[in-house]
């Protein structure tokens, strides 16, 4: 039996709006299929892990204060994370985790928090702390190969720009910038998004895309996952899509 190894970074500091729930959901969906799923945690001053030994690296979102706390530590992990990413490790990044992988995050006072520079995008917070993109959001992504609606909750001041391959197009809500058309950033092995809620709660296809990716890493023939009962998740999404897009 194959084991999926996940590294949850800064779990104790970056956990807003149920972000840790994403780990619970991935574990749940693996367990239901008899896939072994191990989630290790890394935080400030932990021993430097071997990032390449993980199938997936996850970073959630946090308040500004917490984000400042971790940004320096994250820079120490830069080489390890880049090596893992190039080696095919999946990066799943929410909100703050998403912003910090870009070039920089400029806060409301104009101070720059240096990002890892793994991707070309950058984020600028508006001068007023009151101007935030807050609310329910529906996007449509094609990362799984066919269009899937993804429902979540966004709450971010930062406006992220310089993105060529967004995670999805916005059907309701703001996205990367206030009232923008695109949301998040993605590659084959990257999902970076502002969606909290947690992001995976009512979007089982996205969880399964990541699990399938991890299960088949480096394999020539893709073995599809066994379907599991998603009745509640799908009904949950249907209710929200109906309410927001009617």
């Amino acid at each position: 039996m194959k084991t999926i190894k996940i590294l949850h970074m800064y779990a104790d500091m970056l956990d807003l709006y149920g972000d840790s729930g994403n780990m619970e959901i991935l574990k749940y969906r693996c367990t239901k299929r008899g896939i072994d799923c191990v989630v290790d945690t890394y935080s400030i001053d932990s021993e430097m892990p071997d990032f390449t030994s993980y199938d997936l690296i996850y970073i959630g979102g946090g308040a500004d204060l917490e984000q400042q706390h971790i940004s320096e530590d994250l820079l120490k992990c830069r080489d390890g994370i880049i090596r893992a990413y190039k080696n095919g490790t999946f990066l799943f990044l929410i909100c703050g985790g998403y912003q910090l992988m870009g070039k920089y995050y400029r806060d409301a006072d104009g101070n720059d928090i240096k990002g890892l520079g793994l991707f070309d995008y950058y984020t600028v917070a508006p001068n007023s702390r009151r101007k935030r993109c807050i609310g329910n959001i529906v996007i449509e992504t094609e990362i799984t190969g066919k269009p899937v609606k993804v429902v979540g909750f966004e709450n971010h001041g930062g406006q992220t720009q310089g993105i060529k391959t967004p995670f999805g197009k916005v059907l309701y809500g703001n996205g990367n910038c206030s009232k923008s058309e695109a949301e998040g950033y993605c590659e084959k092995n990257v999902i970076a998004t502002y969606l909290h809620g947690p992001c995976l709660a009512k979007n089982p296809e996205i969880s399964d895309y990541m699990i399938e990716y991890c299960m088949n890493r480096g394999d020539e023939v893709i073995t599809p996952l066994i379907p599991i009962d998603d009745k509640l998740e799908k009904e949950c999404r249907k209710v929200m899509v109906h309410r927001l897009l009617k």
Binding site: D12, M13, D15, L16, Y17, G18, S20, G21, E24, I25, Y28, T31, A63, D64, L65, H69, R129, I134, G135, N136, F153, N155, H196, G197, P198, A201, K202, D229, L232, E233, E235, C236, V239
Partner: protein
């Protein structure tokens, strides 16, 4: 000018009463616009003002402190309807002031929203501020926790009155350092109760020392991040409490504070903290011990906070949970109870709840013991169903009934002990649905 504003305000109050409309907020909103957003500045209050703030327990503590004075024969004014923003407080004072804006009472006891403390008390002179706790609550509406604490901290920097702080909550205790010149800071703490833990149990705020950034070390956690903490680096947390609750036994329930033993009606650890805050206020204002005992021992609530119903012959306890802390407490009470039980969880996402429901993922459902079935309801019935399912609970035992009456029927369709958790805007409709069931099928409200 003030007289005209007060006259106008009073006329609006009267008109709303004549129209049988709620005058709890609207008069204040009108004056807020006319006074350049300083609607509380038109009043003249000579008596001491006591304000109570914090995420959980404001209403209980405000009511109890008011009773301390009332039972001592004092004339008090209190915002009982829970209108706790500047506009709500203004609307209430309009009813009590004379035409010059003078408010006549011995004490004003005001429940005050966390984010409105600096606003209101830059306009009215505050004698005592009681800060109970800060938890994640409706984050999207209030902004992040840190912003909120900073706001109140800013106010405390120049505040020289009594500051009563929960010394077991690092988020509130830090306010004690805001003004080093204030010699009137009083902390209250509590010794560990039977279910205190050495490991943190629920998601929470405040893991790091706000002064030096070191992780805080805990001797024990009572619930969430409430417990005996200390910063080993700068010593934050090392202060002499004014009153410490001890000998806590929630089975009886009983606890001791400042040498007096109390037997409250409510058996939760939060009630112990709330009542300890009340005991601090009583000591500070020299209330007679017999009065304090009467208030603390008799305080009970009938507003969906651990309220009991009989659905036919099935004992049912309803508890409001506005945030994970409240919900986790109810789950603990459920677990501590022997025998099988069923849970109804009603989750709404109306504006007053905060549109975001992700806080349910901070509830620790994996602790479920002998829970034989779960019914979910409310505008987000499916969200809570998915959340419980992903904690590992058997999906086939979850029934989703968005309609509340159908949900209560479903809950009552089997024998045994029942629990109901409802969030803020769900709690009154849930009570109403429980009462409709009782009216139709029998039972009683205790």
């Amino acid at each position: 000018m003030k007289r005209i504003l007060i006259l106008l305000g009073k006329i609006i109050v009267k008109l709303l009463h004549l129209m049988k409309r709620n005058a709890g907020n609207l008069p204040g909103i009108v004056l807020w616009h006319l006074t350049g957003h300083k609607c509380c500045s038109i009043f003249k209050v000579d008596c001491p003002i006591i304000a109570v703030t914090g995420t959980n327990g404001k209403t209980s503590v405000t009511n109890c402190i008011a009773q301390l004075f009332e039972k001592s024969g004092k004339k008090i004014i209190i915002n009982r309807e829970g209108n706790n923003l500047d506009t709500g407080i203004c609307s209430m004072l309009l009813k009590y002031c004379d035409m010059s804006g003078k408010v006549k009472a011995d004490y004003l006891i005001l429940e005050t929203d966390e984010s409105h403390v600096p606003v209101v008390y830059s306009q009215l002179k505050l004698d005592t501020l009681v800060v109970l706790n800060f938890f994640r609550d409706q984050l999207d509406r209030n902004g992040e926790m840190e912003t909120l604490i900073q706001k109140i901290n800013g106010f405390c920097k120049t505040f020289e009155g009594n500051l009563i702080l929960n010394g077991d909550d690092p988020n509130t205790a830090r306010l004690g350092r805001a003004n080093p010149k204030n010699t009137n800071v009083k902390y209250f703490r509590a010794e560990p109760y039977a279910f205190a833990t050495h490991k943190i149990f629920e998601a929470s705020e405040g893991r790091f020392c706000p002064f030096c950034g070191e992780p805080l070390e805990y001797e024990f956690y009572q619930y969430s991040h409430i417990g005996k903490f200390i910063c080993k680096k700068c010593g934050f947390g090392n202060y002499e409490p004014y009153i410490t609750a001890s000998g806590i036994d929630l089975d009886k329930p009983v606890f001791t504070a400042d040498g007096h033993t109390y037997s409250p009606k409510l058996n939760s650890i939060y009630n112990v903290y709330n009542m300890t805050a009340v005991a601090v206020a009583a000591k500070l204002y020299g209330i007679k011990q017999s009065v304090t005992e009467g208030v603390i021992n008799n305080y009970t609530v009938k507003n969906g906070r651990m309220e009991n119903f009989m659905l036919g012959d099935r004992k049912t306890t309803l508890n409001l949970a506005k945030n994970p802390v409240g919900a986790n407490m109810t789950l603990r009470v459920m677990n501590e109870m022997k025998g099988e039980k069923e849970l109804l969880f009603v989750l709404n996402d109306n504006i007053a709840d905060g549109l975001d429901v992700s806080w349910i993922w901070d509830i620790n459902f994996s602790i479920f013991e002998r829970v034989t079935r779960v019914v979910t309801s409310g505008t987000r019935a499916y969200d809570i169903a998915v959340r419980i399912k992903c904690s590992g609970y058997d999906q086939s035992k979850i029934v989703v009934r968005p309609d509340l009456d159908k949900a209560v029927e479903e809950l009552a369709s089997t024998e045994g002990r029942k629990f109901v958790i409802a969030n803020y805007t769900a709690v009154q409709p849930t009570r109403a649905a429980l009462k409709r069931y009782i009216a139709k099928h029998g039972g009683k409200q205790e």
